[in-house]
């Protein structure tokens, strides 16, 4: 079985068991199975011709230079490094995402390019080397000066704005990657039954469902 086939098989068996537990509705089971096959079909399949054309245009050229991308990669891994739970930003493909999004949202181009320049000029002044060629300690020293907006020196304002943008792009790119979604623990986007907040969580928050709610709402077996 190739990867796609095996994925499909896993998905299908989960669905049918989930649904068979509480509904003998073969029609909707079949429909759900169809839905689940679709995400595997092709990456652009939901797009209109106008959108495909735009995608082609956006991906047909590069925006960042190799040197710029190297700096972006270093910065993104400083922002989101690997830890016990998951890998680093670059392992999750964040630099590629940033390259794409600045072409898709051109309003980021000037802030990113001028921010990278600013960083290199600072670095050249201080160490006579561009940022990407500094050792780790030097890089972190420079980052420390721009990573904390409330204590950064006034003359670092430009760097602070750039680093905040880098931080935001990195976080968005990381936590929307497969690695990041697993890390954050989002477990939805799949067929299931909403049975309400788990009992232990209700207890933890001192909440209960009212009798009215339990009587009126869709009832699946809450403990199944």
């Amino acid at each position: 079985m190739d990867r796609r086939e095996s994925l499909k098989a896993i998905v299908l068996s989960t669905v049918s068991s989930a649904l068979l537990l509480e509904s003998c509705d073969s029609k909707s089971e079949e429909q759900v199975a169809q839905v689940l096959e679709t995400p595997e079909s092709s990456p652009g399949d939901w797009r209109t011709p106008e959108e495909l054309e735009r995608l082609k245009l956006v991906t047909s050229k590069n925006f960042f230079t190799e040197q710029e991308l190297a700096t972006i990669t270093i910065l993104s891994d400083i922002i989101i490094p690997a830890d016990e739970v998951s890998g680093s930003a670059s392992e999750a493909g964040v630099p590629d995402f940033i390259e794409f999004i600045v072409k898709d949202k051109p309003e980021f181009q000037t802030p990113m390019r001028s921010g990278l320049k600013w960083l290199d000029i600072q670095s050249l002044n201080q160490y006579e080397k561009p940022f990407r060629d500094l050792n780790e300690g030097q890089q972190l020293e420079m980052v420390d000066a721009i990573a904390y907006p409330e204590r950064a020196a006034p003359e670092m304002k430009k760097g602070v704005a750039f680093f905040s943008l880098m931080r935001n792009l990195t976080a968005t790119g990381f936590f929307t990657s497969e690695m990041g979604v697993n890390d954050i623990g989002y477990v939805g986007n799949r067929p299931n039954q909403w049975k309400g907040v788990p009992e232990e969580v209700l207890r933890q928050h001192n909440l209960v469902y009212t009798e009215k709610e339990l009587r009126e709402c869709v009832t699946f077996d809450r403990n199944a």
Binding site: S28, T38, P39, G188, N192, V218
Partner: protein
């Protein structure tokens, strides 16, 4: 793509319908099932969620991670083609005014994405002039529409609960889903300060209602349009079964230019531009039904100038385009420290809120005349573009796992912050009634045409103190609820007179209505109480155009009830040979 489209056919139809959204889809459904031959003109492409929706895509399957584009302003996976701007189809605004116009271009119109909030208007909503002297009463009342609301509930399916509230009529409801954690917290906090919170009313099938449509499996992605048709969209739930009768021809990519009339002034058909070859065609029918959305239907009428109708069709009253209004909207959101570091589980639920707040106060005691309802959101949603954005404004204000942090930062410590904060957001928005003023209108811009050569609309809409005062009340109420919950407010907290208390631009809430309004007096209205033009008896308008006012409810359930009512009237009048 769906396979129920036809090639051009010179055929005499019983009815030509312009637009396949909520209003047009319902008209096609009723007329086709009554055996009438229907031509449905749709400016957009064919669309069937079963094959064309991105329902269960993961964020990384979009290189932009679900960020918006002009093609999909609500995000890359969203179910709506086009929105605030359409290439080659501009609109303009009179100086000093603003109107944001959302236009879908696809089979099913805006109902592929819409929020599925399905509220009936109450008795007061049809007669508000009698209560506060503002605007106009409808020529019909709740009792006239109730049978159609009942039929729409049964045909399409909506969940909710019968609460016996005076102006939030009971309906025929499927069971609602249980509230999520943040919704329980909202409910507790709001009820503590006298604000009711009840199960929401959404047209999503929590139980199966027929063999053509599946049952909801709780993926929270209704906005992408449901592949098993467990939520309502006009294309899958009305147009598809209408086509299955064999009585409906859908012509996609057909941009209606104007309604054609004869020397008697009666409608004979519609001329349209075929967007594929850019040539003009005409299709003829015994009746013409406008359902292109309130503003577009007004545009079509104003562009249908003839010797018999020199001021535009159905416009001897000069009201077409006037009384344009949208729901008001303002929101406040924040994060809830109590929800930080929370246990993970699948809390997707349906694609929308599980609870809401209907209007609960008496306007006689307030400085604004009409009410609003409150919509809620929050919790552990699928990460998308924008995730974690602005963390530097937030993490410095928190105790993260017991430690005070400095705003901003990087590294493992920052990574922990994102995890800690995930799922703790909560927000609320008011959707209120604006007064339909004659001075708020759209008209034909004499200087601008679109790429088909059709003159475009120029908007002239301004909010009054009524709406601004209402937004202020929303803002203060939402802050109170959030305060009561112990939330940190992250947006909307700084609203004030400088930004009209967060009141959104008119049009932004996407409930356009009032431009072809109904009434008993042909001098003050374009349509009679059957949605039929006073000036042209075989012309009808079944979208939000016919609304006299829009209540503190979202408008689509009423569009569909009125469209069904008008369509049954058309069948009856045709039988009696009156049209």
């Amino acid at each position: 793509m769906a396979d129920y489209q036809i090639k051009e056919e010179p055929k005499q139809y019983d009815a030509v319908i312009i637009g396949s959204g909520a209003g047009g889809g319902m008209a096609a459904y009723v007329l086709a099932n009554a055996g009438l031959k229907v031509c449905l003109l749709e400016a957009g492409a064919m669309y069937d969620p079963a094959t064309d929706s991105a329902q269960l895509k993961n964020p990384w399957e979009s290189p932009r991670r679900g960020a918006s584009t002009k093609f999909r302003p609500f995000g890359d996976f969203d179910g709506c083609y086009w929105g605030w701007e359409i290439d080659g189809e501009p609109y303009t605004q009179a100086e000093g005014t603003s109107w944001d116009w959302w236009r879908a271009r696809m089979l099913g119109g805006r109902t592929n994405h819409w929020g599925r909030i399905s509220l009936r208007f109450g008795p007061k909503d049809f007669k508000h002039r009698s209560i506060d002297g503002l605007g106009e009463d409808w020529p019909i009342g709740y009792e006239d529409v109730k049978p159609y609301y009942d039929k729409v509930d049964r045909l399409i399916g909506v969940f909710g609960t019968n609460e016996g509230l005076e102006n939030e009529p009971d309906g025929i409801f499927l069971p609602p889903p249980l509230p999520r954690l943040h919704e329980l917290k909202i409910k507790k906090a709001a009820q503590g300060i006298g604000i009711p919170v009840i199960p929401s009313r959404l047209s999503i099938l929590t139980k199966k209602i027929n063999d053509e449509r599946g049952q909801c499996f709780y993926c929270a992605q209704c906005g992408r349009s449901c592949k098993v048709y467990a939520d309502f969209s006009s294309g899958s739930c009305l147009v598809k079964p209408a086509v299955a009768t064999g009585n409906v021809d859908v012509i996609p990519n057909a941009m209606a230019r104007e309604v054609v009339t004869d020397s008697e002034g009666l409608a004979t058909g519609v001329s349209y531009v075929n967007k594929d070859d850019m040539l003009d065609y005409q299709v003829n029918g015994r009746v013409v039904i406008l359902a292109a959305s309130a503003c577009e239907s007004a545009r079509l009428l104003l562009n249908s100038v003839s010797r018999r109708h020199p001021n535009g069709l159905a416009n001897s009253s000069d009201v077409v385009g006037k009384y344009l209004h949208d729901s008001t909207g303002a929101s406040v959101s924040g994060v809830l420290p109590e929800l930080m570091g929370r246990k993970r589980y699948n809390e997707d639920g349906v694609g929308g809120m599980h609870v809401y707040t209907p209007w609960w106060l008496d306007n006689k005691k307030l400085d604004f005349p009409r009410g609003y309802h409150i919509e809620y959101w929050g919790g552990m949603q699928q990460p998308a573009y924008g995730f974690g954005w602005g963390v530097e404004n937030l993490n410095g204000k928190l105790q993260v796992n017991g430690k005070t942090k400095e705003a901003g930062g990087y590294g493992k410590s920052l990574k922990e912050d994102y995890r800690f904060m995930y799922g703790a957001s909560v927000g609320m928005a008011g959707r209120g009634e604006a007064i339909a003023f004659e001075s708020n209108y759209c008209e034909i811009d004499p200087n601008v045409v679109d790429k088909y050569g059709i003159p475009v609309l120029r908007f002239n809409v301004k909010y009054s103190d009524y709406e601004i005062n209402q937004a202020k009340h929303m803002n203060q109420t939402f802050k109170e609820i959030l305060h009561e919950m112990g939330a940190i407010i992250t947006s909307g907290g700084d609203a004030g007179p400088h930004n009209n208390w967060g009141l959104q631009n008119p049009g932004k809430i996407i409930h356009e209505a009032g431009t072809v309004r109904m009434g008993n007096d042909p001098k003050k209205s374009a349509l009679n109480k059957w949605s039929q033009a006073h000036d042209c008896k075989n012309l009808f308008c079944v979208d939000g155009g016919q609304f006299v006012s829009q209540g503190d409810k979202n408008i689509t359930w009423t569009i569909m009830a009125l469209s069904m009512r008008a369509s049954e009237y058309i069948v009856d009048q045709m039988k009696k040979q009156n049209i």
